[in-house]
């Protein structure tokens, strides 16, 4: 039976392969150095950790540990290793690919109590943070010094910087500034055995192999990042936010391809389609997007005043030439904030359309945006599904969002089929599986469609170098069966073969 410090009541723990005595000893050992608040082992509280933002996959862990710092994380990992447990790292659980879905009988290592800003070096423009610090909190902390942190995922009010590191997260402004990997100067990480890798000194150039680069985006399958050293950028002298209104979604897509071909460099180019506009305008995120538009394009142009003026002039001409029927400039900071709140709140606003939302993520060649966006719409139309598009158009990063009711098994099956067909469509056009959400459980097996077995074997070598027993976030990112077998096996949903 669980002890008081674990549950506070007679709640039954979930099963584990450990004997009762060994399981109790493990929990006691962890509580001894993490304290009662650092260990969760009762069924009721564990249910909080049974999924991330992709609720299609659910599995509660046997145990959750919440260290306060690197030393505690190292000790906890070593202790879990000793008992052979699988470990799933978890930040805020906002991921959308099942990357933080727990393993049955395994442990989740949450960074929720590692939220400190360790160092803010204004002069050298970097910050050292604990991995559990929320993305938006970093930019807030450095705003008064004329600095900001560039990667800005839509979930930035909740997602953690450690989660961003694990997924190499992006966001609207990564069009100009690049994804997380371009902003990580250093990392402190712990491997499955509890060994600490300290690469915290901020470096533009790696000394030796670029471990920081390869660990970024490794989805918690190699190490647990506990601290990050992140590059901060000076706040631009001027930011101009533009809203372009289009009568056709395809026109907006063509305008993006044209902007890129002409070397124009706004810092963000986002497109929202009609259904998204309607959802946003009916929600608390109402931004003043025109309801009669088939699509709106939201752009930020940042830089010196002269630079911004020059780019905006050229942008306006290209947008008009591509059918942009109206172009609004945000005249105040409040208006700019409102326009962006609509974009950032779009996923939340979809709750008005249907109870559930399947957010897909794919990257496609930017010269083929219009054709592929139309293709995704056609797939959903054929399957009788509601599709709302809101995406990072400048990077070719599509987010076809399928609105559905998870209580309807037939609709769920059609949603998954749509996801699969959209993936096939994008890959056939030269695209990739994910632009910023990662593969997790959801797209793991899709790797066979993009890479051959030799490619995947090489990736397996990387994994084996860090975690030969595959205890770190097992079953994620790489297929668990050979591609040949997956190609000939009857179709299954991602994660269906899990224990």
């Amino acid at each position: 039976m669980p002890r008081d410090h674990r549950s506070g009541s007679a709640r039954t723990p979930l099963e584990t392969s450990l004997s009762v005595e060994r399981a109790a000893r493990l929990v006691d050992d962890l509580v001894a150095f993490l304290g009662p608040a650092g260990v969760v082992a009762d069924r009721e509280r564990l249910s909080t950790y049974e999924s991330d933002g992709l609720a299609l996959f659910r599995q509660a862990p046997w145990l959750v540990v919440l260290p306060r710092d690197t030393a505690q994380a190292s000790r906890a990992m070593a202790r879990l290793w000793a008992d052979g447990l699988a470990i799933v790292p978890r930040g805020a659980g906002t991921g959308l690919s099942g990357g933080a879905t727990a393993v049955r009988g395994g442990a989740v290592l949450s960074t929720a109590r590692m939220r400190d800003l360790l160092e803010l070096d204004v002069e050298n423009r970097f910050a050292r943070v604990q991995a559990g610090l929320v993305n938006a909190h970093l930019s807030k902390a450095c705003a008064g010094h004329g600095l900001f942190y560039a990667p800005d995922p839509s979930s930035q009010q909740a997602c953690t910087l450690g989660g961003n590191f694990a997924n190499n997260s992006g966001g609207p402004h990564c069009f100009k500034y690049g994804s997380t990997v371009r902003h990580v100067l250093g990392v402190v990480a712990v491997d499955a055995r509890g060994d600490v890798l300290d690469l915290s000194e901020p470096r533009l150039d790696p000394l030796g192999l670029d471990l920081v680069g390869v660990l970024t985006g490794s989805e918690g399958t190699l190490v647990l990042a506990t601290e990050l050293t992140l590059r901060l950028l000076p706040t631009p002298e001027r930011t101009e936010t533009l809203l372009a209104v289009f009568g056709k979604l395809g026109q907006a897509c063509d305008a993006v391809s044209d902007l890129i071909a002409r070397n124009l460099e706004p810092s963000a180019i986002e497109i929202l389609d009609r259904l998204t506009i309607e959802a946003v305008e009916a929600s608390v995120y109402r931004a003043g997007y025109p309801l009669d538009a088939d699509a709106v394009m939201l752009l930020d142009v940042e830089g010196s005043t002269a630079e911004v003026d020059e780019i905006v002039e050229e942008l306006e001409a290209v947008l008009h030439a591509n059918g942009g029927r109206e172009l609004r400039r945000a005249s105040t900071a409040l208006e700019r904030k409102r326009l962006w709140a609509g974009r950032k709140g779009a996923f939340g606003a979809m709750g008005r359309v249907a109870p559930d939302l399947y957010v897909t993520d794919a990257v496609v060649p930017r010269t083929r945006l219009a054709e592929l966006v139309a293709g995704t719409a056609e797939i959903c139309r054929e399957l009788g599904l509601k599709l709302a598009n809101v995406f990072h158009a400048g990077d070719g990063n599509l987010h076809p969002n399928i609105c559905y009711d998870g209580r309807d098994a037939n609709e769920v099956a059609r949603v998954l089929e749509a996801g699969h067909r959209i993936q096939e469509l994008c890959l056939a056009a030269g695209g990739a599986l994910s632009g910023e959400h990662g593969l997790g459980l959801e797209k793991r097996d899709g790797m066979c469609a993009l890479y051959n077995q030799a490619d995947l074997d090489a990736m397996g070598k990387l994994r084996d170098a860090f975690d030969p027993e595959r205890r770190m976030n097992p079953d994620k990112l790489l297929p668990t069966r050979p591609c040949m077998e997956l190609r000939t096996a009857p179709p299954t949903l991602p994660g269906e073969d899990r224990g």
Partner: protein
């Protein structure tokens, strides 16, 4: 001679003639140099070399062989120089895929017609292959504006020790599909495989450029001038102080759209009086001269005078620079300096071949201060000694090298003598 060499050897003439002088700076043993024409030949050579028990060192044109210790075990050089040219180029997509043996100059020429360019802007682009520059982790003169290779490389194809050619990353500007294995090859000096092909993000080639330069009384004055630009809305390509014993200058390289460059230049001149200005092609030419250390190609190729790069936190740049300068002066080492305070980078190039004792003393000072340092062009006897302590994470790096090349088919010891 081993069968593998006999069947695949190509003459040294197959390497870019411009690099032959540099190749001599390797100072390692005379080795057969194999320069396959394509991927199939490269695979065949590596297979045959493996069967013969030969250890292979991948290279491009060989211009950076003197950056690292000579490996203890190496039997043949595998050059990618003949595997050159674009594989896929879609200007409107902003991505170029190119064979690793393509010189940076050839890439620049290809992209110029579409007003695009790659980064980093590495020295001596006529001789540097893109694969060689990437694998050596070479920095560029535009690092302040466009970053390092990590910011530009999107994917790669690599010939591994097991003879398999594998792909990671892709040809898209944004992509988080699978592990970014290609990142490990940047700075690996071929320890993990031979890079055959790279996909690169393209940048707009700015239509306008300006170079502002002012003579300064001393290096402190040059650094003070640049400090006055802190917080200015400039987004410069380069902020640099450079000089030797007698002559010092501060310079700013600006690129962008014409009005933006003009406004930035006005900002510079309003904050720092005086100085001369070069525009567009003249500005670019001056920037390239400084990028190449002020040396014409043939002089650089034949001057075995060491170059030391030190990286510190930007705020520590003045202290680190003055310490290096005082130390060099005290040791009687004549040196030219290039200092980039916004990046924390200091480059010291000796003006004549210094004695080993003086170099050792300079190295000790660098070690004492725990500066992150990289020596290039050292006499071969000093290269391993000057490698310094193993880099942070060396144990993990060793695991990676063992994992990717368990039989030691690729030459080791160039990332660090212990690796």
């Amino acid at each position: 001679m081993k069968t593998s060499i006999q069947t695949t050897e190509r003459a040294l003439a197959s390497v870019d003639p411009a690099s032959r002088g540099w190749f001599a700076r390797w100072q390692g043993p005379e080795l057969p140099l194999v320069s396959p024409a394509d991927e199939t030949e490269a695979k065949e050579f590596l297979r045959a070399a493996g069967a013969d028990g030969l250890v292979v060192l991948p290279m491009g044109n060989g211009s950076k062989l003197d950056w690292c210790p000579v490996p203890k075990r190496v039997h043949a050089l595998l050059s990618t120089a003949r595997m050159s040219g674009p594989v896929a180029y879609e200007p409107a997509e902003g991505v170029l895929t190119v064979r690793a043996g393509t010189t940076v100059a050839d890439i620049t020429a290809l992209l110029a017609r579409d007003d695009r360019r790659i980064a980093p802007d590495v020295p001596f682009p006529e001789r540097s292959t893109v694969g060689g520059a990437f694998c050596a982790g070479q920095g560029g003169a535009d690092r302040l504006r466009r970053g390092t290779w990590r910011d530009s490389i999107l994917g790669a194809r690599v010939l591994g020790a097991d003879g398999a050619v594998t792909t990671s990353g892709g040809r898209l500007v944004k992509n988080v599909t699978g592990y970014d294995l290609f990142r490990l090859h940047g700075g690996a000096h071929g320890a993990l495989g031979c890079v055959l092909e790279l996909s690169l993000r393209l940048y707009p080639d700015p239509p306008s450029a300006a170079w502002w330069e002012r003579d300064e009384e001393d290096p402190a004055g040059a650094l003070r001038s640049l400090a006055q630009l802190r917080g200015a809305p400039l987004a410069p390509t380069r902020l640099v102080a450079f000089g030797d014993h007698d002559h010092w200058s501060a310079a700013v390289h600006l690129e962008g759209r014409p009005r933006a460059v003009a406004a930035a230049l006005a900002e510079v001149t309003s904050r720092i009086p005086g100085g001369r200005v070069l525009r567009d092609d003249a500005a670019r030419a001056r920037a390239h001269t400084l990028r190449d250390g002020g040396l014409p190609d043939d002089a650089a190729a034949t001057s075995p005078w060491p170059l030391l790069e030190v990286h510190v936190r930007p705020s520590d740049t003045p202290r680190a620079f003055h310490l290096l300068r005082r130390t060099a002066q005290g040791l009687g080492i004549g040196a030219e300096f290039v200092v980039e305070p916004a990046l924390g980078c200091i480059a010291l190039r000796t003006e004549s071949p210094p004695g080993e004792a003086a170099l050792r003393s300079l190295h000790k000072a660098v070690q004492w201060e725990r500066f992150a340092a990289r020596w290039m062009g050292l006499p071969v006897a000093l290269r391993a000694e000057f490698a310094g302590p193993p880099p942070p994470g060396a144990e993990f790096m060793a695991r990676l090298i063992d994992q990717f090349d368990p039989l030691g088919r690729f030459a080791r010891g160039r990332v660090h003598p212990n690796l």
